[in-house]
Structure formats: C-alpha cells, structure tokens
Symmetry: C2
C-alpha cells in the first residue's frame, strides 16, 4: 500500500499495519515514523465514529465490534492514500518521538498461557526433570490468571521484587530476587465480550479478538520456584507485566496466518482446528538485553493457537469482557537462539541485573511490525 504519506513499503509501521495506541490527547495510529491523532481526525472525517475516540484509551473502540473495526481501518487506509484527504490529515501527523504513549486499554482480566512446547519442555526439565511436559500439556492449553492491575506500558521501570525463596541448604530467606527473568510473549486483546455460561467456539475468535500486542511477563524464578506448588505462579509474576503501546489489529495479520504444528493426540472437538482456516501466526520476535540480541523466537512454532486459547478459556462458560488480555506464554523455538526466556539457557545463564534494559520487538510475515515493549530493571 502506498499513498501520499511518505512511508516506505517495507517500514514495519507501513500502511499495511496501522496499529492503534493511546496518548494524552486520545487515540492514535502509527504511520511510519509518525503518529496520527485519530481523535482529531475522526471528528473531522468520521463524525459518526468520533465518540469511540474521545478518551485516551482504546476501550470504547474495542467494545464497538468487528464491523466498526473494519470501517475505521478502511477509512484510515483511504485517508493516507487518497490525496483528497491530505490537507486535513497531514497536520494531524506528528513525529512519533514527540508522543508519549499510554497503556492502550484498560486491562480487564489478564490470563497467561504456556503454549510453546519448546519453552514448556525447556522449563519443565528444570523443575520436573523426570517429566518435563505434564500429562495434560498436549490435551489443553495450560493457562492461569495473572494480575491485571500490574500490567504496565512499555517504558515503565520495573522495580526488582523482593520475596521468599528457599536456598540450596533448605533455609527460607527473604530478599530481592536473584533470578529476575524476562518472558517474550504475544498478547491478544479482547474487543467484544461474551455472556456468562456461553463458551466462545474456535470459529468466533475473529468476532471477539481485536488485535495483538507484545508482552514481557517478567518473572522472579527464585520466588516462583518456592511458591508455585500447588496453586501456581503468584508473587513471582504479579509485580509487573509490560505490554507494547501499539495494538496491531487482527486484520493486519491476515497475511501471517499459517498452519500450526501437527498435534498428537488430536485435540478434543472444542479445540480441534483441523480443516478450519489456521490461526497459527508467522511472527518473529527479537529479544534484546541492553541492545544485544539474545534470541529470535518464532511464534509460528507455538503448539496452541490463540483461537484455541480463547476457546479453552471460555469452554467452562467463563465470560469475556472488553479489555481482557490473554498472552501466549513464552515464545520459544527449537533452537537455543530462539528461546524467549533466560531460565531456559540452563547452567551458565545470566539473570537480569539492576539497570539492565530488555526490549522485545516483532515483525509478522508481510512486514507487519509490532513495535516493541521495553523496560529497565531498577533497584527495589
């Protein structure tokens, strides 16, 4: 897609991406290295939809549903390509570096999955050497609820958490975590909610999910190891979860849909996506610590797709709300340079020091960029 807006076709935020964010002035859209004030633009050019963009949050737009999501995206595309809109639109574009982005939407419930077989195997080997993958792993996308109130936007400093850990000699001590880790993940943002008691089937994924973002699920491995049996991760995760400021609409990822890996055993009917259009996604992440490339995790290698995650999350009748965020769990591929967390590197690995900055970026097939989620560790 080319237009009067001067953006190279291969720019990750080219006109094929058009991700949404929030800033003090309302809602905005990334267009190359600039940011379009959608709140102002909609008042001038799309008054019937302007009420969706009055707040500095995507909440109202998320709730508006798929038809309006498509209409607004089509309008944005037209504005940036048709010269007739240039006079109105160009003054509403400002350099991205001048815009401070906020948490893009109000997080309702936050769920984190564990959907990479490579990650689950690598981590499972450390915690449960005799049986890295638990017996349920290939039957269902394992997930748990995280703390919605501590989801923060990229750039927010992450205070090193303190907590209990058990030392090698068996003593239980309290102090700042000595094993602070990152987890590179992709998150999915629920737009339209659902009714309590009514599962959302695989085929309704697109009707409910607005788009995707990047997630760093910071993890204190020593706290987690001591606390997590029997009720799962709690304080080892709940101190902070960072998300990217840009939400990429699902429509922009159409060209990145790929078949997921083969599953064995065949999933139960509500998870069986055989024959349906695939919701594997060809997205390549990049993880950097202090600017140095750590790994390039491939989302296409995920065992469970986001459509399966959503079907599982709701199969017990749990309802969805606008702003629910569910993340994939750490994305890891088969190779060491594709692992999305530090713990997987085993002996000789390092953990994060105070002052370390982690940046996770991603690009989907077709050159659709996600931008990045970034955070620096600060002393607790």
């Amino acid at each position: 897609v080319t237009g009067w807006v001067d953006v190279p076709d291969d720019h990750p935020f080219g006109l094929h991406t058009l991700p949404y964010g929030a800033f003090d002035g309302g809602v905005c859209v990334a267009v190359g290295d600039r940011v379009l004030d959608l709140t102002a633009a909609s008042r001038a050019l799309l008054p019937a939809h302007a009420a969706l963009f009055e707040e500095p949050s995507l909440d109202a737009f998320l709730a508006a549903g798929r038809e309006r999501w498509s209409q607004v995206r089509a309008a944005l595309s037209t504005w940036c390509t048709d010269l007739a809109f240039r006079d109105v639109v160009e003054p509403l574009l400002r350099p991205a570096v001048d815009v401070t982005l906020r948490l893009p939407f109000t997080i309702a419930d936050y769920v984190d999955f564990y959907a990479s077989e490579h990650h689950a195997t690598n981590v499972g080997r450390l915690f449960r050497p005799d049986q890295p993958l638990t017996p349920n792993w290939r039957h269902l996308p394992i997930g748990y609820h995280g703390r919605a109130g501590t989801v923060v936007v990229s750039g927010t400093p992450v205070v090193r958490p303190s907590g209990q850990r058990r030392e090698a000699d068996g003593s239980v001590v309290f102090g700042p975590t000595t094993r602070l880790d990152l987890e590179a993940e992709v998150g999915f943002v629920v737009g339209t909610g659902s009714r309590l008691g009514r599962p959302v089937p695989l085929a309704a994924f697109e009707a409910h999910v607005f788009g995707a973002c990047l997630v760093n699920d910071w993890s204190a491995r020593d706290i987690q190891a001591w606390e997590y049996v029997p009720l799962g991760p709690f304080l080892g995760k709940s101190f902070a979860t960072s998300v990217s400021p840009w939400v990429v609409p699902l429509e922009a990822l159409d060209g990145a849909r790929v078949a997921p890996p083969p599953r064995d055993p065949t999933p139960l009917a509500y998870l069986d996506d055989t024959g349906a259009p695939p919701w594997g996604l060809d997205i390549t992440l990049e993880v950097r610590v202090n600017g140095e490339l750590l790994s390039r995790p491939p989302f296409a290698a995920m065992y469970w797709t986001p459509a399966q995650m959503l079907a599982h999350l709701t199969v017990n009748g749990a309802s969805l709300r606008t702003g629910d965020l569910f993340a994939s769990g750490t994305v890891s591929g088969p190779r060491r340079d594709q692992w999305g967390s530090l713990i997987e590197l085993g002996e000789g690995r390092r953990y994060l020091d105070d002052g370390d900055e982690v940046a996770i970026s991603a690009v989907a097939a077709g050159g659709v960029g996600f931008g990045e989620v970034r955070g620096r560790v600060v002393h607790g």
Copy 2:
C-alpha cells in the same frame, strides 16, 4: 446500640453492623430487616459526602479512605439513634425484600488464598497423600489470581461448567463436571489503592481494607484435578465466584478480633504479627445445601490472618486498586462438621446436582451479621 429504629439488639443487621450494598437507586445500608437508601439520605443529611453515593456501586466510597468511612458510619449511627433525624430517615427505609441488590462494587483483581490449615490438609491428602501440606505452606499464605470478570452477586444462577477431565482408566473426556463443589470463604475488599513497587505492611491493613463479605468459590474438582499442575487452578474455578451483596465495614468487626493460632515456624518479619493487635477474626460461617446445615466453619481457626494475606500479596511491590477482592480460601475447622467444602468429606461425599441451592451465612462475635451468599446450580 438502640435507637428509634425498631431493630432488636441481637439482630445480625442491628445498629452495630450497618453493612453497605448497592441497588439500582445507588448505595444502601442494611438496618434490621429494612434497607436505607444512603444515596437519598446523604443528599439530605450529608451533602459534603453525597458525591460518594451517586452511582449504584460502592466504588467511590471505597476509594474515599478510612477517615470518610468512619465519618459516614458515625453519621449513620447518629441518624438511626437520634430522634431528630427520624422524619428524614424513616421514609428512606424500605423492606429489604423489596430491594434488589447488585454486585456491590467493581471487582478489580480477585485473589484467592488457601489459608486454612485444616482445609489444606484435608484436600492435600486427596491430591498428594504423601505430603498433604506442601513445604511452603507454613512459610507463606499461598494464593493465586482468579477471574474477576466472573465474580457474581448472590442469587445469580451458576451454570454447571463443562471441561476436560481424566477418567480413572486414563482416558481424557469432555463434558459437564461431575464433581461440582462449593467453598465457603470470607472475602476482604480493598478500599484505597497503593503504589506499584511499595509493599503494604501488616500495620497498614486498616488503611487499605474497607471491609469483608462472604464468598462461594465454586469449584469443579474433576476439571481442577486434571488441569492444575503446574500453573494452578484455572477453568475449575473461573466459571463463577459468588459474593454476598453486603460488605461489612472493618470497624464493625473490631469486637471480633482474636489472636490467630500459634505459628510454627515463626513467620518471616514481613508476616510476623507477634505483639501486634491481632487480625484473627471470630466469625462463624454456616453452610447449607437445599436448606440443610452442612457445617459451621470457624474463621478464627485460620492459620493466616487477612492482614498477613495483604502483606504477602504486596510484598513483591504489586500495587492495590480500589475494588481488589482477596478471599481467605475455604474456611475449615478441625472437626468434620466444620469443613467448608464437599471434597474434604472424602469417600461417600456427594457433589452438587443441578437444582441444588447453596447458602453460606456468617455471624461475627458481638452478633455482627454478614447476611448470606446464595446460588443455585443450573444445567449447563
């Protein structure tokens, strides 16, 4: 406390209780068998605080903080005792049976603990016969995040959830749960939030927590058993959590504070409540299924107090928000007739059938009532 309002001293909702709720018209207070429209009363008698009661929710009042909570409670007490207020207040009292109560506040994050040693031992014996209490149990109040979006008010029907379970022969099947259980718990409601990165110490419990309510943490044991390793309960719990419509302010529970059981080992400093005014609470619950008394769980037997739960929840720097709800986990005492869930009853126990109605009520020392949380199981 006696006054012109005709309420017997021994009524669970006597003038020593004055719990808060929400209805279509705004915020209300239970006074004996009647309900006071606090939204209307505050406009007439407490205009400086009336803005806190404009919405049909306690949210604004919760956020207002301890000083205002005390002022409003003192005013309520005066209105109901001083004859000078009778002409204004009496017309704003209506029979409780005529008022439909709503979810009393917006649930921010929902956390569930596991703080009864008796319950944890009874359940642990079934899941892990060799080691009922995990090694961490006496070192920290184990907890996990639940689904805030499926917390429902008393009276909401509970749809029997479906999900995966593993049969005795090892096969994995899908269908309605065959082991639907109840869990009788006490929940604590956060009023004022806290800053990210700043733990809330034991001594700040009263500054943050507004009050308490009753919780039924419905549980599908077959779904839970299959899914919960390694990341904890998920779909086995997330289909519904019922709360009582009345929130009892912490001030009303002053007379119910008792010393918690002795702890061994002595908790780490941030959990050590030795010498501090105790936050054990002498509250007796009653669990009924279809009207038949199942048990009378004693909250005073809980190993961990709510102040310890809050200190633990935030010790990693996790922030609090107005409307956070944290529940105690199933309340069980040492005796069989004090167990707060069905699973603990072992062989010969029954689970819940479609049509069964569960009601959990409670009274604290001093005759302070909680009302009840009630729910009927309906076919999925």
